[in-house]
Amino acid sequence: MRPRFNLFSLEVAVSESLLHTPLHALHVELGAKMVPFAGYAMPVQYRDGILAEHRHTRSAAGLFDVSHMGQLRLVGEDAAALLETLVPVDIVDLPVFKQRYALFTNEAGGILDDLMVCRRPDDLFVVVNAGCKQQDTAHLQQHLGSRVIPCPERALLALQGPQAVQALARLAPGVQQLTFMDGGFFKLDGFEVFLTRSGYTGEDGFEISVHERDAIAVARSLLDQPEVRPIGLGARDTLRLEAGLCLYGHDIDTRTTPAEAALTWAIQKVRRSGGARAGGYPGFAVIDPQLPGTQSVPAPATRKRVGLTSAEKLPVREGAKLLDAAGAEVGVVTSGTLGPTCGHLVAMGYVHSGCAAQGTQLFAQVRDKRVPMTVSPMPFTPNRYFRG
């Protein structure tokens, strides 16, 4: 048996060159299988395994270590206006303690990274992907200078699932009053944390930023709650895929525009042509003409990210070619798995715009087999965000 495809390396993370998160010792103690990921030794799964961890998160609450992600503060009164020069997103009007999804774009209209931005009274709190954080920090510093304060001393935990709120509210009273994409400073079992009611699983849940010295104590407090079990990166990937959420470097990258990636909802009207702060970000000339209802000269995207489902049991993975009924190549799969909650094959990929309508029948080429796939709405499992 020899691997031909690995979402994560099958080898144990033994290299001493790998970075450790502040929770490393706890992962080892909990029996995690550690793998290299974005330069860090990260838990791909604990003793329960990916399927059980996925199901536990959907039914109760899962605790994830996402401390490998980059956390930064942007300070100064002009920080929001300056950040708007890098993202096609409304940051200036973002209310205090509200979080928003954003994209760093390049001049070609491609996506440099996706990120979360939360306005706090004294700064903008930014979370970026682990694999992009050095590049993102340099990009921000180039445009915002000393207003950029990286926070390498902070760990990031995600508590996700329908019982996350009841577990967390026991330790941090008041969090139950937040709604989806709200943030706030709380005391969690006595420790100072900043948290947001958001996540990457499609479930209700929280992302908790905590000083590294308190990270293990906070994680233990959360794991002591009867609803909570530790969950690895393997289940994080299957959960986010069922939720229809993009994984940077796979479903979106510098070669995909927001419209191609079906992320136009992230671009508020105020930043679109005709809006009060239209443009002024890299790639406006490419991105805006692709938006529906643009006041630029329309130039719709010629391909689009779509959801794909199949009743077949054969996993369809990243890189599989998508064919139409006549056998012509019309696209490529960028993520795929057997959805542990859906119980069937789920995938996302890019197809020619003419094949992007819901219900279109396509085929994925997997080895010598053609797997029938149907273009389907995302998310594949209903989002259960708490909107109050």
Binding site: L51, D237, L314, L338
Partner: protein, 125 residues
């Protein structure tokens, strides 16, 4: 009575007195893969040379080829495993077997590993 031998690619092969052998993946292999969700098994009657890909095993996070350890013809495949791929995790050396092969060149078995040699290989990983 049967003797079980191992390959460096983490297949096991249990050799039977009637000139056939059963092939599966090892405990280490299923542990490295994690939850197995799909297996592709060879066709009965098809002949293989050693190291040819005779099957595929897919977990949530990985896909791997299963190699034929010896020259031979497939005489049976594990339809129960096809229906319940998790047997490759729960009972890899028993009910999670993949296929049975009729040995064409029994002398090839001499090049495979004993359980002691395979244990040594695992320790060196």
């Amino acid at each position: 009575m049967s003797t079980t031998l191992y390959t460096e690619d983490h297949e096991w092969i249990a050799v039977h007195a009637d000139g056939t052998a059963t092939v599966g993946i090892t405990v280490h292999a299923q542990d490295a893969l994690g939850d197995v969700v799909f297996v592709d098994l060879p066709e009965v009657g098809k002949a293989y040379a050693p190291k040819e890909v005779a099957g595929v095993v897919e977990s949530v996070k990985a896909a791997a080829d299963v190699y034929m350890p010896v020259t031979g013809e497939i005489v049976e495949v594990n339809e129960t495993l096809r229906d319940d791929p998790s047997l490759a995790n729960s009972d890899p050396l028993g009910t999670g077997w993949f296929f049975k092969v009729r040995l064409a060149k029994p002398a090839e078995l001499d090049s495979l590993m004993s359980s002691t040699a395979y244990d040594d290989l695992l320790k060196s990983l």
